[in-house]
């Protein structure tokens, strides 16, 4: 069964610090890797996404690093702010079915 494993489960970072969340996948038949941000009581919202032919993508303070050979990708949040406190989900889309497989989520708390 296709799986996406996410770590850590929770993360506490000081304001201005770097938050790093890691994901690993087991199947090579994925063609799209998004990260979603979810605030309490809200649905997930797309934050940033990458395709496997690119090793890094940056949008503002958010960067995805992608290592195809290791089947790993990570989200880096630079200059973390209290407003970044949320749950983050990585996901991978099956190139066969188009289905999104989500990781278990990381709860980020940024302390002022």
């Amino acid at each position: 069964q296709q799986q996406v494993k996410q770590s850590p489960q929770s993360l506490i970072v000081q304001k201005g610090g770097i938050s790093i969340i890691n994901c690993a996948y087991e199947n090579t038949a994925f063609d799209y890797f998004p990260w979603y941000q979810q605030f309490p009581g809200k649905g997930p919202a797309l934050l940033i996404a990458i395709r496997p032919d690119v090793s890094e993508k940056k949008e503002g303070r958010f960067t995805i690093s992608f290592n195809k050979s290791a089947k790993q990708f990570s989200l880096h949040i630079m200059d973390s702010q209290p407003g970044d406190s949320a749950t983050y989900f990585c996901a991978a889309r099956s190139s066969n079915t188009g289905k999104l497989i989500f990781g278990q989520g990381t709860t980020l708390q940024v302390k002022p």
């Binding site: 797309l46 889309r93 289905k99 989500f102 278990q104 989520g105």
Partner: protein, 116 residues
């Protein structure tokens, strides 16, 4: 642009009762998804519609769950009868899928179901 609408936002029922959730996707979006999000886990796809048709319902517990998409727009998800383990947030999402920006799925706020 209005987002994905869902109702109700919260529902509490007894086990073995029935419940229905409603979703109105973003106007013009061809694909609609229902996800189940159990506390502390990532969303899990239950069913995917492309216009009126079902694309994937492989993880839908069909003995108790059913879903339909009316005229390729609104959708309802029903549970009958509910079990304790159905307590979760049910998320609806939609995506254009017919344009170059079809990769992004837009999520609604979800319906939090508690089965007692």
């Amino acid at each position: 642009e209005a987002g994905v609408a869902q109702s109700p936002r919260y529902k509490i029922i007894e086990k073995r009762q029935s419940v229905a959730f409603w979703c109105n996707p973003i106007s013009g979006h061809a694909t609609l998804y229902w996800y189940q999000q159990i506390l502390g886990q990532g969303p899990k796809l239950l069913i995917q519609f492309q216009n009126n048709g079902v694309v994937d319902d492989s993880q839908l517990p069909k003995d108790r769950f059913s879903a339909e998409r009316l005229k390729g727009v609104d959708s309802t998800l029903k549970i009958q009868p509910a079990k304790l383990e159905d307590s979760a947030v049910y998320l609806c999402a939609s995506s254009p899928r017919t344009s170059g920006r079809g990769d992004e799925q837009f999520f609604g706020p979800g319906t939090r179901l508690t089965v007692l």
